[in-house]
């Protein structure tokens, strides 16, 4: 099996996010980038398959600050090839990124065969204009399934996998997927493995990142962002005063307003 993991770099929200002067973007100077959480899960799920049934894992991502760290780490974890696609693209535009990645997939394997799985993270925190997985699947004309938390080959049937998709409240659905396909991984079967620093260092020394340049075919149909802003946070709870009756009534009102009570 061939697994191509397409990772996505997103701003690290542990660091305070600031808005650029034009009020429509993040201040690029102030942010640090990291692999999106579900991308990490996608990588982990690919590695789990590699360990359990044998698969060749290739990791690719579009250029971003600190991408090298993520790729070295992927390489140390067991990806056979790690590839950086230049130049940088706007992370908010899935259609642009997908057009780059479509070209990349074409370069890599022409048209993907029935032994090929393409993994993306199910969703990233900056998917303002849609997720990468379904966009790419549409552009490649491949099937897509997202929010996947487990994936295994169907025994005795070449080119088919069983995917478990999560709904809510613990309810899940089992699907059978004929390959090639694009799969959006929400969470791997296990938490991301820890790769010792010594191995990352070794990967850095061997300098194994490949690089390729692809220019997107842009179509101008993005949304128009009027402004971006940091929502007001009070930092402290809004206190509800009164006797139990009043408090209970107010709470129910709040629950209803926030769609918590069906």
């Amino acid at each position: 099996m061939n697994i191509i993991v397409l990772m996505k770099m997103v701003p690290d929200v542990v660091e305070p996010l600031e808005i650029a002067e034009d009020g429509k973007n993040l201040d690029k100077e102030a942010i640090r980038m990291m692999a999106s959480e579900s991308s990490e899960h996608a990588l982990e799920q690919a590695l789990i398959l590699k360990d359990s049934v044998g698969a060749e894992v290739t990791v690719a991502a579009i250029e971003a600050p600190e991408l090298d760290d993520a790729l070295f780490s992927a390489s140390a974890k067991g990806a056979v090839r790690v590839i950086k696609i230049t130049p940088e693209q706007d992370g908010l535009r899935a259609d642009i990124s997908a057009s780059v990645l479509k070209e990349f997939i074409k370069q890599e394997c022409g048209s993907p065969g029935s032994d090929t799985l393409i993994f993306t993270g199910s969703q990233a925190i900056d998917d303002l204009q849609g997720e990468l997985g379904p966009t790419l699947a549409e552009q490649l004309g491949l099937p897509f399934i997202g929010v996947v938390t487990s994936i295994k080959p169907v025994e005795g049937e070449e080119g088919k996998v069983t995917a478990i998709k999560e709904y809510s409240g613990g309810l899940r659905g089992e699907y059978e997927v004929a390959l090639p396909a694009v799969v959006g991984i929400q969470a791997a079967e296990q938490p991301s493995r820890y790769v010792p620093f010594a191995k990352i260092r070794a990967a850095m020394k061997s300098g194994s990142i490949e690089s390729t340049e692809i220019t997107p075919e842009v179509e101008g149909r993005g949304v128009e962002i009027a402004r971006m802003y940091v929502p007001e946070v009070t930092g402290r709870a809004e206190m509800i005063e009164g006797d139990p009756e009043t408090v209970a009534a107010r709470l129910i009102e709040i629950f209803k307003q926030n769609g918590i009570l069906g």
């Binding site: 542990v14 660091e15 305070p16 820890y194 790769v195 010792p196 620093f197 010594a198 990352i200 260092r201």
Partner: protein, 680 residues
């Protein structure tokens, strides 16, 4: 009276005498072969330098080997060991003297020195030490088979199952047959000095009624039995637990007499196969006496987790014996072959249970470095990625943000925001004291309060100090103990770089883990900069009257010695002195100073899940201990992690109302003038 003289080989036919020499020779050969096998086993380890001089090693050997200095806190065990050891030693010596007297001096030169008064003292001494031996053996039997303390139970003896029992029986047999032989000889010869051999004499009464013939016949039987048993014993030494007479001595001799808790310096990949330990470590494993003292003080064992340092050592020793006994080529990595893993010998669960508190190492009578061995094996687990989920997550956070909280490194000095004076930035201006804050003291909300209290105290005393702000990273003390050497190196490099850019005279920290890392793990690169704990600084500020507690605490306080401050670095006095200066009465818990009981957070344990079969968390056990000290209202701590662990434990155990958990700095602040507090 006729001059008393030794009649060695009385009633022994000549052929038996020769047979005895042959048997003795054979025993010695078997012994030497066994010894050679042990030495070969030790030599299969990696190389390691011995520190210290010959003189100091000899002192170690006499103090801790011959006089078993480390057993001094267990009188029963000390007596037993001294009795058995010295009993055997003196009797062996006596036998040797008799042999020389008879078969060298008498045979070759027709001269005997075992005569007259010297001989009488010899007989008296031999009987006395024989008695000691029997008493020692009886204590041993009582301990092992009647009292049966848990620490003596051994699930994985590295030799054979009935080892201890067989040895005890054999030794008892040797002692008793020895006395009977003597008694029979005295009964037959009836010398008039017989009372000197007081035991033999007393026993000889039993045989008074027997005919001379039957006495002589029995004598020969017991003499033979005594000889055979003795030779079997000698031959068995290297193949049984009795070998610890030799190996323990070697282990003590090769001990480096450094504070407990040192890790291997130059073995980043850790230990895969048994021969990846150094020769010193292999000797240590072989030197284990099965005493179980380490297990008795181990917080992981007490908590009901799988780890027992004793069992780990014994299992490693058994593995070392097995691997040396096998005929396959030496399994060292540099010989091309991959060494066989130790995964089946010591489980990951055991390895992750260790808090690296070093109580075991401190207690071990023969200087075995258990935590070091455990960490060596952890290093391999880390390389293999066999660490629990929670730990892996924390390590990733540290890799990315330089702190275990996974918070922005830019927020590292956010805790200073509650102060109304500004802390100097040691990167920008020279300071006398560089305060290396550490992760917990920087990021944990509860500990930030303590950090601010310390800052207020330092400020009030006019101390010239500053911090590194976001250039500081966690020192990696516990990262190293988790076994992640690579990450530790990365942190060390970053911190050394930051330190090299700052101007300061001394480093101060509130965190014993940070303290230990800077003082010991960074020592090579620190140009001898002095590292001090804030309690040491506070002590000095009080003695210089720069801080004057004006409203004494008037409370009874007990102090918990943090492992990394006490056992690791020997700081015991300063925190207590400060507490007394604050007007507190310091009462001690039963487990105090070097016998302090770990809170359970060290060695990365604070980042791991508790095993489901936890009987009692170490911190809970400790808070109970503190609360049980009569009249104590406050458990004083001097370590960020202790504050967190014990405040939580106080809640869990329901002792919250009975005993308050406070940092010394918080207590200090309470004693200052109101203005000082307000003004700050």
């Amino acid at each position: 009276m006729e001059e008393p003289v030794r009649q060695t080989f009385w009633n022994v036919p000549h052929w038996a005498e020769i047979a005895q020499y042959a048997g003795g020779g054979l025993a010695v050969i078997i012994f030497l072969y066994g010894l050679w096998r042990h030495i070969k086993r030790w030599k299969s380890g990696r190389s390691e330098k011995l520190e210290g001089t010959f003189g100091h090693r000899l002192t170690l050997l006499v103090k801790y080997g011959l006089f078993q200095g480390r057993l001094s806190n267990d009188a029963q065990s000390l007596l037993m060991h001294l009795f058995i050891f010295w009993g055997m030693a003196v009797l062996a010596l006596a036998t040797a003297i008799a042999t020389v007297d008879w078969d060298v001096a008498h045979l070759l030169f027709d001269y005997q020195f075992l005569k007259g008064n010297f001989y009488l003292v010899y007989e008296l001494g031999a009987d006395l030490f024989g008695l000691f031996l029997v008493i020692g053996l009886c204590i041993a039997v009582i301990r092992r088979y009647i009292q049966r303390p848990e620490k003596l139970a051994t699930e994985n003896p590295p030799t054979f199952k009935i080892d201890s029992g067989a040895l005890l029986l054999m030794l008892l047999g040797i002692a008793i047959t020895g006395f009977i032989v003597e008694a029979l000889r005295l009964a037959s010869m009836k010398p008039d000095w017989a009372e000197w051999a007081f035991i033999g004499y007393a026993l000889s009464g039993l045989f008074g009624a027997m005919s001379i013939d039957s006495i002589e016949a029995s004598h020969f039987v017991f003499w033979s039995a005594h000889a055979v048993l003795s030779f079997v014993f000698i031959a068995a030494i290297p193949y049984s637990k009795a070998f610890h007479m030799v190996s323990s001595a070697v282990s003590v001799y090769t001990g480096n007499n450094i504070p407990p808790g040192r890790v291997s310096e130059d073995n980043e990949e850790g230990v895969v196969g048994i021969t990846d330990f150094t020769w010193r470590q292999l000797i240590q494993f072989d030197g284990c006496t099965w005493c179980g003292r380490c297990q008795d003080v181990c917080p992981a064992h007490a908590a009901g987790w799988r780890l027992s340092p004793k069992n780990v050592v014994l299992k490693l020793n058994a593995e070392s014996g097995r691997s040396a006994g096998s005929s396959k080529p030496e399994n060292k990595s540099d010989n091309g072959g991959t060494p066989e893993g130790l995964g089946d010998v010591v489980s990951a669960e055991e390895l992750w249970g260790c808090t690296t508190c070093a109580a075991c190492e401190n207690e071990c009578p023969v200087f075995i470095q258990q935590p070091r061995a455990l960490i060596d094996m952890r290093r391999h687990l880390v390389i293999e990625g066999e660490l629990g989920d929670t730990l892996g997550e924390v390590l990733m956070k540290i890799t990315r943000y330089g702190n275990s909280f996974g918070q922005s490194d830019r927020a590292r000095s956010k805790w200073t925001q509650g102060l109304d004076f500004k802390l100097k930035d040691a990167r920008k201006e020279a300071v006398e004291y560089l305060w290396f804050v550490g992760d917990y003291a920087s990021y944990d909300a509860r500990v930030q309060e303590v950090s601010r209290a310390v800052a207020r105290l330092f400020h009030a005393a006019g101390l010239d100090f500053g911090i590194l702000n976001e250039s500081e990273k966690g020192t990696g003390n516990d990262i190293r103990r988790v076994g992640e050497e690579g990450l530790f190196d990365m942190l060390r490099e970053k911190n050394l770089k930051a330190l090299s850019k700052a101007k300061y005279k001394k480093i101060v920290t509130t965190d014993p883990h940070t303290y230990n890392a800077l003082k010991n793990d960074y020592a090579r690169d620190m140009d001898g900069v002095e590292v001090v704990h804030y309690t040491e600084v506070l002590e000095q500020l009080v003695s210089e009257r720069k801080l004057e507690p004006s409203r004494p605490l008037n409370a009874k306080v007990t102090f918990h010695d943090p492992c990394y401050l006490g056992r690791y670095n020997g700081v015991y006095a300063s925190p207590r002195k400060v507490l007394r200066a604050l007007g507190a009465e310091v009462a001690e818990m039963p487990r105090t100073r070097e016998h302090s009981f770990c809170c359970g957070a060290g060695g990365g344990r604070i980042w791991m899940e508790d095993s489901p079969d936890t009987k009692e968390r170490p911190a809970d056990s400790r808070i109970r201990e503190a609360a049980a000290v009569s009249g104590v209202q406050v458990l004083a701590v001097a370590c960020p992690k202790d504050l967190v662990m014990f405040q939580d434990a106080a809640k869990t155990t329901g002792f919250e109302d009975k005993i308050a958990v406070k940092d010394i700095a918080q207590l200090f602040l309470e004693t200052l003038n109101q203005e000082v507090k307000d003004e700050q």
